[in-house]
């Protein structure tokens, strides 16, 4: 059986099913219980599994992350929500100093099967701090996994994989496309492996790497220039760390060109890492400068300015053409 679901619904279904399958899974965070989360990703979970396993927490991100460490050590699989990725920062110390390190620190004695879910990214005309895309910050920390789905199908499969992962996973959800489209999503558990990218479209003129909400914008961009005779290979990275390097390295060996598109700030972002890997592994194949099209190195603007920030399909299209015509 399959249903047609959007991303929020797919996430909700993944949580439902994993809580059903595994009674050690617990869900908590700010407003996730009674009301089912500000984006309704956890809706009905409390009704179904009770207040013991699905509950509202006090307003304190460090404690949400920090208590999850204790729970994971003590046999549970906490899946906690941070209300927006811009509010993960109070939990930064717990994430970097403990969550990323407990397995290594204890030489494998204590591992942390836990997930931190949070909606990330801009484009929803929101207040300050509600549009952040700082996945690269966490990807730089040894010991973490950072996963970003771009479709309902992937969201469910990746979240299930994250919950079952014996190690901590940061699960960043592209809120701009939470409800943007629906897709057939099979009922019942399935996993999409963490650390594997997906080739969305094969081509041999240019490799385009992207993830999250930008996937659709890249697809729109490619559509805009479909008469230009360019055959791009589009890769949805799906996991930011550890990264599926082969996916784009092999692709670049074929295309000779690479464009990374992300909405996070440009400098020190994920694009830089991808480009460096390409330099290390496919230098001799490069026919044009590996290119980044990203958010600016500025704070994400309030709504009256936000349309400038996220690379538009038009800008992406122009950049694809520029790189191919280089």
């Amino acid at each position: 059986m399959a249903n047609t679901l959007n991303i929020v619904q797919a996430i909700n279904q993944a949580l439902m099913e994993e809580m059903e399958n595994d009674e050690t899974v617990v869900v908590y965070g700010e407003d996730v219980g009674l009301e089912g989360g500000v984006f309704r990703a956890t809706v009905d979970l409390q009704k179904k599994f009770g207040k013991e396993r699905v509950f509202d927490s006090p307003l304190a991100e460090s404690a949400i992350a920090g208590t999850a460490v204790g729970m994971a050590i003590n046999g549970l699989k906490p899946v906690v929500e941070m209300q927006f990725s811009g509010f993960v920062y109070p939990a930064f110390n717990q994430i970097i100093s403990h969550i990323a390190r407990m397995r290594n620190r204890s030489r494998g004695r204590y591992n942390l099967p836990m997930v931190i879910r949070t909606p990330y990214g801009g484009g929803i005309r929101a207040l300050e701090h509600h549009s952040e895309s700082l996945e690269a910050v966490f990807a730089h920390i040894p010991g973490l996994k950072v996963v970003i789905p771009s479709t309902p199908y992937d969201a469910k499969g990746l979240l299930i994989a994250a919950i079952r992962d014996p190690d901590p996973v940061l699960f960043w959800e592209p809120k701009r496309i939470y409800r943007a489209f629906k897709q057939e999503v099979p009922e019942g558990a399935y996993e999409i492996p963490i650390g594997k990218a997906k080739i969305l479209q094969e081509g041999d003129d240019i490799t385009i790497v992207t993830w999250g909400a930008m996937v659709r914008d890249v697809q729109k961009a490619v559509d805009l220039i479909k008469d230009e005779g360019i055959r791009p290979e589009i890769i949805d990275l799906r996991t930011i760390s550890p990264m599926d390097r082969d996916s784009f390295v092999e692709s670049v060996k074929k295309t000779g060109r690479i464009l990374v598109v992300h909405e996070a700030p440009k400098s020190f972002g994920t694009g830089a890492e991808i480009i460096s890997i390409v330099n290390e592994k496919a230098f001799l194949y490069l026919e044009a400068p590996p290119t980044r099209l990203t958010g600016f190195d500025t704070t994400f603007p309030l709504p009256r300015g936000e349309k400038h920030y996220i690379p538009s399909p038009e800008r992406i299209a122009k950049t694809i053409v520029d790189v191919v015509r280089y």
């Binding site: 500000v38 006090p58 991100e61 509010f87 190195d297 300015g305 800008r315 122009k318």
Partner: protein, 360 residues
């Protein structure tokens, strides 16, 4: 009232004006002139009108996310009225009445919620910090402002606002602790409106009230009826003067209620009962103030009608003055990160402008 004599562990609320507009505590009643009373009433009305208009603009799709204040006017206006011009207001994001008293132009406020950073550009002489979204983090700024006053030998006071939910954050603890240790002239003002989005106050903490958290820092703490402007004013005034006199920080819990939604994205019927809301409507801070003024013979229907009409006109004109005219300049996105724009930002700005000019 003496703040030090009040024991928040006893869990009694300090109040002066009851929901029927009666003064139940003559002894502590502040000595306002009729003019002042009308100003305070007018400001609460202004606050409510701004709220109502914003909500209706929002419903019409002319405004973005907005955080309403209805029900909390006395807590906001009363506390800010206790501040002097040289005092610093350090807000969270739901302090409309306080901003107005402190001289923040409505234009700024609407501009902010309309989605433009210029809303946070305070006029010269208005010692108000921008809205701070990360819960409780702003209290540390209040503590720092107070510490700086001590170092500089200045007599101004910082008033830091936070919600009931905000008391659970680590920053709440650290800010109060720093302020106490350094005897900083700071007043921490909790608007306990019973909810943090959908999460009721009972889930935030087991402590009987929030004011008693002051005990952990050895500072005075007081629980006041937050819908009683007089009580709020008196307690804040005393806390501020105490701070100004070098006696250190205090904590005030204004017990109030958010009659509306958390923000325009929120649907409060999901998490609370109508009866609860109705109960609190009877405690409306504006209503009881009006009853008091009426009984005192200070307020006339004509004055009120005229005032509301004027305020509504002003609010509408202000909104219209920014509507559709407040798109962010591209340069503004880049210009204010550093005093001097570094080359990489300049390059990004120029590239983007070139793209826009290049058509498409």
């Amino acid at each position: 009232m003496r703040l030090e004599d009040y024991n928040p562990l006893e869990d009694r609320s300090f109040s002066i004006l009851d929901p029927d507009g009666e003064i139940i505590n003559e002894k502590d009643m502040p000595d306002f002139t009729d003019e002042e009373l009308l100003y305070l009433y007018k400001t609460m009305l202004y606050t409510r009108i701004i709220d109502e208009k914003a909500l209706s603009y929002q419903r019409q799709g002319r405004m973005l996310t907005y955080a309403p204040n209805t029900g909390q006017e006395a807590a906001q206006v009363g506390s800010a009225y206790a501040m002097k011009e040289e005092d610093w207001l350090v807000p969270a994001f739901r302090e409309l009445g306080a901003w107005l008293v402190k001289g923040v132009p409505l234009k700024n406020i609407y501009l902010y919620w309309y989605g433009n950073e210029w809303g946070s550009y305070m006029p010269e002489g208005v010692r108000v910090l921008p809205i701070s979204i990360p819960i409780a983090s702003q209290l540390q700024h209040a503590a720092g402002i107070g510490m700086a006053n001590n170092i500089k030998g200045e007599k101004s006071v910082a008033v830091g606002y936070v919600g009931d939910g905000g008391t659970s954050e680590g920053d709440f603890h650290e800010a109060l602790n720093f302020a106490a240790v350094f005897k900083a002239p700071v007043v921490f003002f909790i608007q306990n409106n019973q909810y943090a989005i959908s999460t009721p106050r009972s889930i935030q903490t087991m402590s009987k009230n929030l004011a008693l958290k002051a005990v952990a820092y050895n500072m005075p703490g007081i629980l006041v009826d937050g819908n009683d402007l007089f009580a709020v004013y008196v307690a804040t005034k005393e806390a501020i003067e105490r701070a100004r006199n070098g006696e250190g920080p205090s904590l005030i819990e204004a017990y109030t209620y958010r009659l509306g939604a958390h923000t325009t994205s929120d649907d409060p019927t999901k998490y609370r009962e109508d009866e609860e809301v109705e109960k609190w409507k009877n405690k409306d801070p504006i209503l009881r103030f009006k009853k008091y003024l009426k009984k005192k013979g200070i307020l006339t229907d004509e004055w009120e009608e005229k005032t509301i009409e004027e305020l509504e006109k002003e609010v509408m004109e202000t909104f219209e003055s920014i509507e559709n005219k407040s798109d962010t300049e591209i340069d503004d996105i880049f210009k204010y990160h550093y005093e001097t724009m570094p080359p990489h930002l300049e390059e990004q700005l120029n590239e983007y402008k070139a793209f826009l000019e290049g058509g498409k």
